[in-house]
Symmetry: C2
Subunit: 216 residues, 2 copies
């Protein structure tokens, strides 16, 4: 199987990047962990940047596909019933897929943290991935939320969507944590709890009354 090395590299890179950070993980460290040759990374991915991109996109592309499908479904149902979509349904289509596979596969939770960090980090390369992967999704969300909340100026609603993405990324960074600050007593997975809490938080933020020019 020719893909074995490639997949091993992606798996180990995902884990090491999430644990130690991307900058602190060298290609030689990774090659040792995956038990492959040091040149394999450059052969399969062209560069370390190429590897990082594929580590992210391997998860992010199918995730955004599911998000888009569920968004489209919510919109078509609303249209067939001759009403505007509900904001909670739109947000559920965006947020639930994020955590669903993490709930099924606890070992994939480090990836959630990695994506949540990479999408907000300093590397210009990841900003590009974020914009490329989220542009179509964002267009749909932007239009849909305007329909759901017509009393909010489109410009402010668009800003709130960015705030919401910040909250969602915070939640993604949070799910792997078992520390005592956030979940002192829980022994079960906190994924379903975090999902509902962030959904609740964002929905309330998006519904807020319009911001006045002069302060409150």
């Amino acid at each position: 199987m020719q893909c074995d090395t490639k997949i091993k590299l992606l798996d180990h890179a995902e884990r090491l990047f999430a644990e130690k950070g991307i900058r602190a993980t060298s290609i030689r460290d990774l090659a040792s962990a995956a038990k492959v040759n040091v040149a394999a990374v450059n052969y399969h991915f062209g560069s370390k940047d190429g590897l990082m991109t594929q580590v992210i996109e391997r998860r992010l592309v199918p995730l955004n596909q599911v998000r888009e499908e569920r968004l489209t479904l919510v919109l078509s149902i609303a249209e067939s019933e001759g009403r505007q979509p509900k904001i909670e349904d739109l947000l559920r289509a965006l947020i639930e897929p994020t955590f669903e596979f993490a709930a099924r596969l606890p070992e994939s939770q480090p990836f959630l943290e990695l994506v949540g960090r990479a999408m907000s980090g300093t590397d210009a390369q990841f900003r590009e991935i974020f914009h490329r992967q989220f542009e179509p999704l964002f267009q749909i969300l932007d239009t849909a939320t305007q329909s759901a909340l017509p009393h909010i100026p489109p410009q402010e609603l668009r800003c709130r969507l960015y705030f919401a993405m910040g909250s969602l990324h915070s939640a993604m960074r949070m799910v792997g944590r078992k520390d005592t600050v956030l979940f002192p007593t829980s022994e079960t997975s906190n994924v379903p709890v975090v999902t509902e809490m962030v959904l609740n938080f964002i929905a309330s933020g998006l519904r807020a009354p319009c911001t006045r020019e002069g302060k409150a």
Copy 2:
């Protein structure tokens, strides 16, 4: 003046890190831009990590001091009037200082973007800075918001504070942008507008009804 080199390095590093990302900025690039020797970074900061830390903390430490002072003031006023603090006042103490100096000094806006990114990024080192610098502030906020919103379970409120920080960091990454997506017509600074909008968003999110165990 013996600090000239140090300050030049901090200034240029801040700008280059915000523009190209930290990983993509080499010490030699930085030394060329600042017109100093390559060894100057290691002499003044010990390492590139040390430089990055000081670039962030140079702004973050005084910012958090102002935040803490204003938080304490809000709490003492509320206590002297024999009432609980208002959540909007608490948030204003947290958020307004973030953008105030950016509004006065437009050239410092790239720094806001840098901090907003670094605090959420993949580098484990910055996570440490974030926790070290925010721990006392977070303790105050945690207690104060519990007083302001006693009907929300402390555990959920703590999570919401993390979501709020994600939104705030999103806003910080946003203020420097002059693109057409968010601010199509504005020619003036968008800083005051963003400040009020994110405050409004977060306040509404924190006030949300408690999340049920079973979904809505």
